[in-house]
Symmetry: C2
Subunit: 182 residues, 2 copies
């Protein structure tokens, strides 16, 4: 069985700061005819499951315009131009900017967030042996963030209440339960 | 601290079959000024961690145009118009169309896939006590799918090899390990 969809024509719709939108006309395999694919291209992102020496998980409280709600998530951020290949540095930068911590980073997962229509890939790290950075890099000036350090059980209460509804944060919490003994 | 970002102006960019794209000019809280938010609206989707009586996990092999690769994922599908509120029926339909099975469905998670710019929400179900449907609903005519039934260990081999890089599938596999005893 053949799977590949060949691009017959690509129509560029939007080229923004965060996302690029195209519509592809594709030829389906196995003589199934043609179809259209609406696609989002994104530079990719990093996220960090940061665990303190007291076994607390660091969460960031912030407003998410796409859902018009406040959300609790693990620290994360988009890759900047030219950062591909140094995702670990990007993860360290995001951790420092958002939380004021540095730590020992290790990659634990990587995944496409919305594989049906978007190529955004997140590399997820764990950070342990956290230390407060004396003069941390400032937060981005268009972000309003509040930092929390919560036990695994407190995080799971936020999942149950619906305050945590973010895929990367759920992956990080389940990883914690499997590997740090939730 | 105030978190909400008020919409000053919304510019509609694209209104497709799967996604809608807008750019919002927002007023940041706490007198931080203005910013732009590139946003994707999506109807939402359902996904199913289907576990056979032999403790095999059902995966779907398919081509994903956004990443130009073949991908292994749990069965899933977009909500159709009017299906909000009956996500469980949509999950049962996707399971039958993609795998030919029916089963006992129970919701286990719900999450936004790409919360930074997109409102797509996936409701994830487990399906157990699977039974082959005598005359299952046909697959969508623009999908080429191959169905596999794999042990948890075989699934984890696909994660290690990079063949499984899909967030919802990783969430489902972690859930299996935590609750079915991987």
């Amino acid at each position: 069985m053949d799977f590949e969809e060949k691009t017959l024509k690509r129509t560029e719709i939007f080229d923004g700061h965060v996302i690029k939108v195209v519509v592809d006309d594709v030829e389906l395999p196995n003589n199934l005819g043609q179809a259209k694919r609406e696609l989002i291209f994104h530079r990719g992102a990093v996220a960090v499951l940061a665990v303190t020496d007291e076994n607390k998980i660091i969460l960031v409280k912030q407003y998410r315009k796409a859902i018009e709600k406040v959300s609790y998530e693990i620290p994360a951020g988009k890759l900047e131009i030219g950062e591909n290949g140094s995702e670990k540095d990007a993860a360290a930068r995001e951790l420092e900017e958002e939380t004021g911590y540095s730590g020992d980073l290790k990659q634990i997962h990587e995944f496409y967030t919305a594989i049906g229509f978007c190529n955004e890939k997140i590399k997820l790290y764990q950070a342990t042996h956290l230390q407060k950075v004396p003069n941390p890099r400032p937060q981005d000036d268009d972000e309003v963030l509040e930092i929390l350090e919560l036990s695994y059980q407190e995080c799971m209460d936020l999942v149950k209440s619906g305050a945590i509804e973010d895929a990367k944060t759920i992956i990080a919490l389940q990883y914690y339960a499997l590997h740090f003994g939730g």
